[in-house]
Amino acid sequence: MRKILIIGNPNVGKSTLYNSLTKSSEHTGNLHGVTVEEKHKVVKYNDEEIDFYDLPGLYSLNSFSFEEEIARDIILKNNAEKIMLVDANSLRKNLYLCLQFLELNIDFKIYINNYDYFKKYKNNLNIEKLENKLNIKCQIINVKKIKINDLDLKISEKHNNFIDFQKNSINLCNYLSKYIKIIKNKYNIDEKTIILALNGVFKDLNKEQIDFIKSLYPDLIFDRYRVIDDVLQDVMTIQKNFVYGLNRADKIILKPVVMTVGFLLCFFASIYLIFFLIGPLIGDGLSYLVNFLLINPFMNFLYSVSSNIWLIEFFSNGVFSSVLTVLSFLPQVCLLFIFLTLLEDSGLISRMAYVFDDFLSIFGLNGKAIYIMLLGLGCNTVSTLATRNMNEKNLRIKTVLLNPYISCMARLPVYVVIASAFFGAKAYFVVTGLYLVGLLVALIVGYVLNKTILRTENNSFILEFAPLRSVDIKHVLNVGKENAIDMMKRIFFIVLGVGVIVWILSHTMFNLSYTSTITDSILFYLADKISFIFAPIGLNSAGIVSALIVGIMAKELLVSTFSISNNVSSIGALITSLSISTSVVHFNLASAISFLVFTLLYCPCVSNLAIIKKEIGTFYMWFAIISQFTIAYLLSFIIYNSIVNSFFYAIIVVMAIVLILSLVIYLIKKIRSKKIACMFCSKNCKK
């Protein structure tokens, strides 16, 4: 099967091209570093199968960030055909990577995107001359409209001769011989190793050799750009004042006050529209439709064929109530993703990153964290992966660790349900307040980490500005559709699956017989045994504790567990039941606020934990679990006790706990440092 890699600088349209060619709907955005891992899909083309790969963007083979490293490794280790997508508006910079490919004698074709924008500003590009100068096939395309048949995908005879270091036919890379000679004069290294090293790939070289070769980079880069300028001299004319990325509107948008006030207004207005106005209307309609078309006919059928209470209860409460309560929030989820896509596609995120960079630097972060946080509003797992476009290790770890404090979509149902139950018309302010608390805690955690164990050594923040673009409504709606499908999958595989298990555990006694009294069940017995831990924060009910445990799997399960426990099958009934003291799960005002804060902060979900472990290691995964639980517990303690006792009492207790914890950590550190010292001692050490 043919494999074709789509390669290019960040934000040139690789994922859009991939989506057009493979009819996929991978995440795209008008921003640097949207794709952080490779994706591939097989499509049929002229009776043959082609496996297209979408790679993260890279400026150079000399990788600067983790995502560039991924792309570089796939390019160099994969004997596949290569498509280089370049942006006509920043051709000079894009040709740098092309030249590195020519140095390695990698065969590829060049596709030029965004040519319309380039022409609109009266710039000119002679494609034939460019082809002749580079000796590479070039084609102008529009990645949004291209079809697989429009591309010249004839198989190349040369592509198998991967890295054979024959001289390029037009001697574009002659400057290399100078560097090869310098290195050979000093070290006995073969030509292949040298050329790879000159492109940032170091194999079988010692530190001294690597340092020496790296010291040649500035001159080498200068020579590469000299060749690129020679090529472009007769090929391209650019208008004197042409700037790609900046727009006239930026004079207003980039004012910090305009950006901050504009963003906050847009965000809070969107939250109101999505969760308290349009969303619930569509959600209620959807619930009614599902009830009318599916649940009612099925339950009527069940009543007619069986009188088994266990079976009827299982379907009405175990299956349908858990699904229906989460399904009601499907429109809200889609609408929020549409809002995020509008921000991404318009090019506003890179502007936000720039404007907020100063502010975020105070907390040891940089502007890129804005994109991570916005993605986190949708799903923390996705945003954890997106940290791959950060080049500094500590900065990346810090961003991953504070990311779960940003409220994801899955937590919203529980906010809306509890806030509606206890705050009525003021629920909106409670929900937006929770978002702000999450953000505030994330920033404080970032600040503390930056001052203690994860100091940012080099906060460079070099970001290419994305141009402002009109939004493609078709694409935005498509994102909404894709997220709806994604959430449906989550509902059916996670919410339904775990919901059924929760129902069984909450309706089964230890002798494995059915019980309609939930308080007699296995789940409640176990939850009751550990509920004393949550007594100081007002959550010592077995129903609440079991929901919190189940919620670690996925936060959507909190609401579905409540509805199973309280034996209700609609959002309205659930909201009413939560304030009734005879319900299995019920709150008072103090415990409701405590629960909301605890849910906001207490633990990343299982899928996010798996990604945290994969991305930054087991130690930091446990660090995330323990630190989040501690912070959630202490903050809930302060809030709950401030309401039921006094703020002074709450603060004194929390300060005492923090003091004891600090002392324990200090002692552990001391003991560990002694052990490490002993490892380096002589055999006679008696410590």
Binding site: Y59, S60, N62, F64, N89, S90, R92, K93, Y96, K214, Y217, P218, I221, F222, Y225, I238, F242, V243, Y244, G245, L246, D250, L254, P256, A353, Y354, V355, D357, D358, F359, S361, G367, N391, N458, N459, S460, F461, I462, L463, E464, F465
Partner: protein
């Protein structure tokens, strides 16, 4: 004079790049920032710690701590 001292919208030419961190220096050079490159500071953030610079007709963000290490002349 360093790049951070350049007035907004005035064209400057890079004379020296003295950025101590080699990795960042190399990356900026790979993006096309080199000796002789014409550069314009388009905007500065509120705390003047980050700036928007344009070179080779493309717009980038640049931290002031790096801009301080780039020596320029007015064009």
């Amino acid at each position: 004079m360093s790049l951070s001292e350049v007035k907004l919208n005035a064209q400057a030419v890079i004379k020296e790049i003295n950025i101590a961190d080699t990795k960042i220096k190399i990356r900026l050079m790979e993006l096309g920032l080199n000796i002789g490159t014409k550069i314009v500071v388009k905007n500065k953030s509120i705390m003047k710690k980050t700036m928007l610079v344009v070179f080779n007709a493309t717009c980038f963000t640049l931290k002031d701590n790096l801009a301080k290490e780039i020596v320029v002349n007015y064009a």
